[in-house]
């Protein structure tokens, strides 16, 4: 009982966080019909700034890191990404009225990773003064890419089977990897990592990317909030199952990752903060690079179903529920 009370207090406190405030504020003003809009070029720049900062930070600190410690969490990330997709496809297969292509795409999107959710988690951990491995955000592609590949491959095998009773399926796996890595979000993250690793970028990080990080995140949250509300209309036009899935999947996925992260904690000393990052990565669903990759890979899927579910339900739940939840859980489990 004490656990639950404790948990709820920690949980509620985080609702005063400005980050969540901007998210909810964005939904609210969209719902009230406000004409406020953040221009698209600003949005693209904000995303770049956030990922460049995360990358630079990681790159600089990785220099001193023991990268062997990364092996197990990276392996677990791949596992989680694949598991989420398999489980998701299985779930959608059981649901009535769900177009199979849409199910594959939605499962893929929830297996993939959201850069904005990751950014929020980093800020929240800093606020709570919970340390994490500098390379933890670099687990992102290890979960993201396998999930997208698996979803697209399985969707194509399925389509082929329906069309001509099976036979050769050739999916360009390397093409998907390349397209993922070339997407604007992963590109910025990896470029930042490389620059952090190979150049003396500490000063530009400290004087520019670092101080602007939280502010730009607040703007990103406002945009995500407005989009979440705007997409609800689209979500309504498709089966309700997507919304229901999007509501509980982030928690389920995060819990799976929390479990595996705990094992990594025991085996290789993966830090509590790292476990939280891993859980948040798992509970997040891709908002920037995932959708175009899936649109290209599973063209028969209706974007309204997977983007609606992800933007309107999945991301708000991941940010507003999953992050505080896994922080609170870690605080209790690891007694920090």
């Amino acid at each position: 009982m004490d656990f639950l009370a404790d948990f709820f207090i920690r949980f509620l406190v985080q609702f005063q966080s400005p980050t969540l405030g901007f998210l909810i504020g964005g939904m609210l003003i969209a719902a009230l019909g406000s004409k406020l809009k953040i221009p698209n070029p600003i949005y693209q720049f904000v995303v770049f700034m956030l990922l460049m900062k995360i990358g630079l930070n990681g790159g600089i600190e990785i220099r001193e890191a023991n990268l062997f410690a990364m092996a197990l969490p990276a392996f677990f990330s791949i596992l989680i990404g694949l598991a989420i997709v398999r489980v998701g496809i299985a779930i959608f297969g059981l649901l009535p009225g769900v177009n199979s292509a849409d199910g594959f795409a939605t499962a893929g999107l929830f297996g993939a990773v959201s850069a904005s959710t990751l950014a929020v988690a980093i800020v929240m951990l800093e606020e709570e003064a919970i340390a994490f491995e500098a390379w933890a955000p670099a687990l992102y592609p290890f979960m993201d890419i396998p999930a997208l590949i698996l979803a697209i491959v399985m969707a194509n095998i399925h389509m082929k089977k329906e069309e001509n009773g099976g036979g050769e399926v050739d999916v360009n796996v390397w093409g998907i990897v390349k397209e993922s890595l070339r997407g604007s979000a992963l590109s910025a993250l990896l470029l930042g990592l490389a620059l952090g690793l190979f150049t003396n970028s500490g000063s530009v990080l400290e004087s520019f990317y670092e101080p602007l990080f939280r502010g730009f995140l607040s703007i990103l949250m406002l945009i995500m909030g407005m989009e979440a509300y705007d997409r609800i209309k689209e979500l309504r036009s498709v089966a309700h199952w997507y919304a229901i899935y999007a509501g509980f999947a982030p928690l389920l996925h995060g819990l799976i990752a929390f479990g595996l992260g705990y094992i990594a904690h025991l085996l290789v000393g993966f830090s509590p903060g790292g476990v939280i990052i891993l859980s948040v990565i798992a509970s997040s669903n891709s908002d920037i690079s995932g959708p175009p990759t899936l649109r290209a890979g599973i063209p028969s899927a209706n974007p309204s179903s997977y983007i609606g579910a992800s933007t309107s339900v999945g991301t708000p739940v991941a940010i507003a529920v999953a992050i505080p939840l896994f922080i609170a859980l870690a605080q209790i489990v690891f007694d920090i």
Binding site: N40, R295, A296, I307
Partner: protein, 109 residues
């Protein structure tokens, strides 16, 4: 100067298809094309114009126009785009009669 009959093909499609469409146009023998970012609504869903922050930028649409100096090339471009792109993705194609000066600039095969 005299004006000569020519054909214009207009293609409205998701941004992510634009590279593929430009390749089709280049292959047709057309000498150029013009691209304008657009928004809109079609059978499938609403696309925002590129002015407003949209989490998924690639789903915005583009309007591509090509002027060629003969009907066959124009029709061929339209056919190719519909066959190769619009079975799976959203978009429309239409042709129009136009008159151009200097028809040599608008080659077709």
């Amino acid at each position: 100067m005299t004006y000569h009959k020519a054909k214009k093909v207009v293609i409205i499609a998701e941004k992510m298809l634009s590279e593929k469409i430009c390749r089709i146009i280049d292959a047709s023998g057309a000498r150029g094309y013009t691209v304008v970012p657009a928004g809109g609504r079609g059978a499938h869903h609403k696309h925002y114009t590129s002015e407003r922050a949209s989490v998924v930028d690639d789903f915005a649409t583009v309007r591509i126009e090509v002027v060629v100096n003969n009907k066959t090339t124009a029709e061929e471009i339209g056919n190719q785009v519909v066959e190769q792109c619009f079975d799976k993705y959203s978009g429309i194609v239409y042709l129009e009669d136009v008159e151009v000066l200097r028809p040599g600039k608008f080659g077709g095969k």
